[in-house]
């Protein structure tokens, strides 16, 4: 097992009270496997990613409980200096917005080269050659010329390729892709997903793929966790999630996907919106939006029930006492 996240809890101390952005989540990623993480904006996906990188802005954020075991050691207890050797080297991240994530005043090539030089101790010339090689690997045409381009001189898809080249330049064991296609055109999205899939095979790395796009999950993930308001509500192998979604929230998500419902009809939506994380309902966090709720949902929070076949669901419908 490459990554074990145990009972991770990350809170943000705000003026209006503590916000539990990530509230005791557990998941594992095996070597070479891809874990997909889905959920609406604000459900804690990105904070989970930043927690693994230990890049949660502090203040106001803080990891308050749990452990993150990566390759046999708890990275939450590593000294900052050791953690710097993990970042960009063993665990890399690709962010959602490639334009703002690249420094506007340095060339794209230089930004890739910097990551290589930092972790490999190659000289300027060798690290540059390696950076050009990485740009070629992410299928940027004319990499020698593109090396000298600034981020504003590239298209969105090209910029995201640069970000991927930067992230993969030190052959990380784990790549965190935080909404890697959300800011891109639909036609470019498919190319980026294909690129990520190919590079994953080639480098044999594990991927934590964060997205709200179920189509992307279907194409890349082996296992899926569905997050809602800081908690994991469903965890399943990818085929099972799509064939037998168990949690009403997951069912709602799938139903609202174009192509999943009857064509010619309006797409179903999940009524309401995500609860304010500072004022969570006492029972199940999804209770006030759920179509299958029962009285118990409003008073008691359900645990993660084991449905067999590595399928888990946080819903009272699957309680043994209930059925």
């Amino acid at each position: 097992m490459l990554l074990r996240v145990n009972n991770l809890e990350t809170i943000f101390r705000m003026d209006r009270g503590d916000v539990r952005a990530v509230d005791g989540i557990n998941f594992n990623i095996k070597t070479g496997k891809t874990l997909g993480m889905v959920g609406e904006s604000g459900c804690g996906k990105s904070v989970t990613a930043l927690s693994i990188m230990r890049l949660v802005p502090d203040p106001p954020g803080k990891i308050t409980a749990g452990s993150i075991e990566f390759d046999g050691r708890n990275i939450l207890s590593l000294p900052e200096k050791e953690m710097r050797k993990v970042r960009g080297n063993e665990i890399s991240i690709v962010f959602q917005e490639p334009l703002s994530s690249l420094n506007p005043v340095f060339t794209c090539g230089e930004q890739v080269r910097e990551a290589i030089a930092l972790h490999s101790h190659l000289g300027r010339k060798d690290s540059k050659a390696k950076a050009v090689e990485m740009l070629r690997k992410v299928r940027i045409p004319d990499p020698e010329i593109r090396y000298k381009n600034y981020p504003h001189q590239m298209s969105g898809g090209m910029r995201q390729r640069v970000m991927i080249a930067m992230a993969l330049s030190c052959q990380p064991k784990l790549l965190i892709a935080d909404e890697p296609t959300t800011a891109l055109d639909v036609s470019v999205q498919a190319q980026i997903i294909e690129l990520l899939r190919d590079l994953r095979e080639e480098l044999g790395m594990s991927v934590l793929l964060i997205t709200h796009d179920l189509a992307v999950i279907a194409q890349m993930a082996d296992t899926v966790v569905v997050m809602y308001a800081g908690k994991i509500v469903e965890k399943a192998p990818v085929e099972r999630l799509f064939s037998e979604p168990s949690h009403p929230y997951t069912q709602g998500l799938l139903a609202s996907m174009p192509g999943y419902s009857v064509s010619g009809k309006a797409l179903p939506v999940i009524p309401g919106s995500v609860p304010d994380p500072a004022k969570l309902p006492p029972g199940c966090r999804f209770s006030d939006r759920c179509s299958k709720r029962i009285d118990r949902c409003f008073v008691e929070e359900p645990p993660l029930f084991d449905l067999g076949n590595s399928h888990f669901s946080r819903c009272w419908l699957y309680s043994k006492e209930e059925s």
Binding site: R87, G88, V105, Y150
Partner: protein, 327 residues
Amino acid sequence: MTGFIIKRLMQSVLLIFLVLTITFFLLHLAPGDPMAKYYNRQGISPETVKMMRAKFGLDRPITEQYIKWVANFARGDFGFSLHYDRRPVRDLVFEAIPNTLRLTVAALLLYIVIGISLGILSAVKKGTLFDKVNTVTALFLYSIPSFWLSLMLIFIFSLKLGILPSSHMQSIGMEGAGWFELLCDRARHLVLPAFVLGVASAAGMARYMRGSMLDVLREDYIRTARAKGLENKKIFLKHAFRNAAIPVVTIIGLSIPFLLGGAVVIEKIFSWPGMGRLAVDAIYARDYPVVLAVNFVVGVMVILGNLVADIGYALLDPRIKVTKKTE
């Protein structure tokens, strides 16, 4: 880039001409005239004064004087001083330029180095005691009038402690000294006026740099730099500073007129033989040619300073393209 510079310089020629024209008429509108000091003087008859006025062309209509001045000026003839024993204005100004430059460049360096480094440190250590002390000190220094600060520093360092000279550019009797001795002597004379001239701007710059740096540190690309595994020092000095410096370069360019303007007061207080002092004395004596020539030189310096700032801006920020060719 070259096209941009040429265009800017051509605009500048027109601008300076306008500034000088306005100065010319304002000067002649002001009461008094260069010969005023000779009125009602014993031994100088009103006829003599009248004769002198005629000789310098001061009795001619103002439009005629203006046309004559423009014609001479365009040929590079700045005329003669009416106050300093009819010396050529060119000589007076060329003697003063290096002295003023020495003072303002020293102040500028002090202002940039102190302002930027304190600003960065304050941003990096935001909220700490260092940051708070820095903020209060900056506000204090920014608010002090420079003439008062000058007098206090002269009082403390020249009168009480006796470690720094109170005025002039070098000590009397240094003419025969070796170059090293002369350099040390001149540096000692430079300390107080350059400090006073630079410190208020440095305080402003520190505040500005702090704000700019804090803005940049919130950017996504700083998070990317951290995610690469870079250490803080490199993130601050390479990734954040380069971006935070872009707006600051403009501020430096805009501050050049204020430095030169401030130099007028400082030069007068410290008896510094620069253009500021020359200008003040010339204005009091209604020495028209000198005032116009000093205004010309200062105008050119301000425009060049701004041009350098614009070029620096374009060099720091690749998104700014001054030429139309690329993209």
